[in-house]
Symmetry: C2
Subunit: 334 residues, 2 copies
């Protein structure tokens, strides 16, 4: 792995985007979101994903010039059309709008249809929590997960993000509805190790920890079996109903043509209700109660969601972003 | 098991409540919510739970006369104090208020602290969806679940409910953050069968399907391992921050004294954004796409959350509610 400074990576990605029709400001932000994702240690959805993103600009799935526009609104709820623009720019704009609305309304929702993959969902959780608000957002995806009781992928793994502001480091949950992503399974397979828990079914229909067997059947396991399966279905329904966009069964099951997604961004503003000092201690106290509890393995304290992020971010900022040489060479040649 | 008509059960529960200080209208509604829960087949949180509820009126955890009151509001977000009233009546009032606010604001949130166990969470999902809106609500609980990586129960199983309106039958997800409830494990143990999937740890620290072994260690498994564990933490933080009520670590870990809970009720009103005919088809089409997909076992189509409810409800309305004789005798003697 190479270590390349954040600034060099950011500038190179922005250059590539400018040459493909992104305005200066949009190229800058889009590139920053990719670089920040790798910086935060979410390698599967950061710079490693950039070549696929550029390929989707080339094949017309992502329109570099398209900006989202509002199509309907009532009070604190707005429906937006993403116009097939860059998924991370659209999502960032949608959460920014939800945060602005929640400043006045206490809670607000922006539902966006006709958009693209938002890359790392946690980005928009950090965005909300950095603004001092609770962020809750989700997206649907192409069909890539068999429901519980089903043999073929007909629901999406529909990531759900919930972020809670905390002075000592935001708490950011970013979870897909499959127990493992294909990216995670590939990583385990390449390292030659089994998954820590069952991740899907083998060719005989048995639960297995063998990543290669699951990649073969494509029968990934929903997180919590029927629970993640049901959650994926209702997240999809809500996203399509609020945005008037596609549900998963309408989305082309091809990673290079997966477009027209539906997403929901909710911001909640508890500080607007008063008693700030008390509210600001709450997340801290919950974290402390969990840290104080007896761990299953001595010396390995229980973690809260996102606990590693700030440390990883600081380390990668200091030492440079971890990049696969082949991916970085490919981006330099763009 | 006995079969007793809905009306007889409802009247008897209401009588018991009136004699314990509930006003006529509140006794009627509280009793109806208990009877409906059993009627819908959620036996663990319906009439079987009524004796414990009455015991909590007797021991002062539930104040039969207390009604919730608003303590802060901004726009579409309100904070309420449940004043330790009956949990199901408080939750019903909170969702009703969220629905009324969402009629004007498109989305609304009522956060309620200082309340009691809401019994079946799905009740408030059905309430929202029957009103044509999306309902999303959750509650914290006493510490009853070890987090992923933890050996002692320090987080709550914090049920989450999401309901989507659908003309042919609402879609209602009602999931706790543990893979199984204690009630479910007891039921498997009494029938002498193993859980269908791992449900927790045995005394040796291994994952097991043996309900008795898990009841022994009290090391239940969060749904989706680290995913359900993280989700339980952020649901707790959000509930406490929005309501200014207790987080799980403040709640007495005693089923008969579990009070002062924090709950959040969100209503979303997609129909207010227009294009009703299209919106009303969306949930149907998702259900159809799932029903059309190839099942893992031939002849067992994939189900959506809540799919069994209407059939069970109709059957129990026709034949009478299924009650354990000992529980019904106890209630008749109250």
């Amino acid at each position: 792995m190479n270590r390349i400074s954040f600034e060099v990576v950011h500038a190179q990605l922005a250059n590539v985007l400018r040459r493909r029709g992104f305005s200066d400001a949009r190229a800058e932000l889009c590139a920053r979101l990719f670089a920040e994702t790798t910086c935060d240690g979410v390698y599967s959805h950061g710079v490693n994903r950039f070549p696929r993103f550029v390929a989707m600009v080339h094949n017309g799935s992502v329109d570099p010039a398209a900006e989202p526009r509002v199509v309907a609104r009532i009070g604190a709820l707005e429906r937006w059309d993403g116009q097939r623009g860059a998924g991370n720019l659209n999502a960032y704009a949608a959460m920014a709008r939800a945060l602005a609305l929640a400043a006045d309304h206490g809670i607000a929702c922006v539902a966006m249809g006709n958009t693209n993959h938002w890359m790392r969902g946690g980005t928009y959780g950090w965005q909300a929590a950095d603004a001092g608000m609770i962020g809750l957002c989700w997206t649907n995806t192409m069909p890539n997960l068999p429901p519980w009781g089903g043999a073929e992928p007909c629901i999406g793994n529909n990531p759900l993000v919930i972020a809670v502001p905390r002075a000592k480091g935001n708490v950011v949950l970013d979870m897909a509805m499959s127990q493992f992503s294909y990216g995670a399974m590939e990583s385990y397979r390449k390292r030659g190790v089994m998954l820590p828990v069952d991740g899907g079914f083998d060719a005989q229909g048995n639960l297995t920890r063998d990543p290669a067997a699951i990649e073969g059947t494509q029968r990934l396991l929903p997180a919590g079996y029927w629970k993640g399966s049901g959650l994926a279905m209702v997240l999809d329904m809500m996203a399509a109903m609020l945005s008037l966009g596609n549900a998963t069964h309408h989305i082309v099951p091809d990673p290079l043509r997966e477009t027209g997604l539906s997403q929901v961004f909710v911001a909640m503003n508890p500080l607007a209700l008063g008693d700030e000092p008390h509210i600001e201690r709450i997340a801290d106290e919950v974290v402390e109660s969990v840290h104080r509890s007896r761990p299953a393995e001595e010396g390995s304290p229980v973690r809260y969601p996102g606990e590693q992020t700030l440390r990883t971010r600081a380390e990668n900022r200091r030492l440079g972003l971890l990049l696969e040489p082949a991916v970085w060479d490919e981006i330099l040649a763009m």
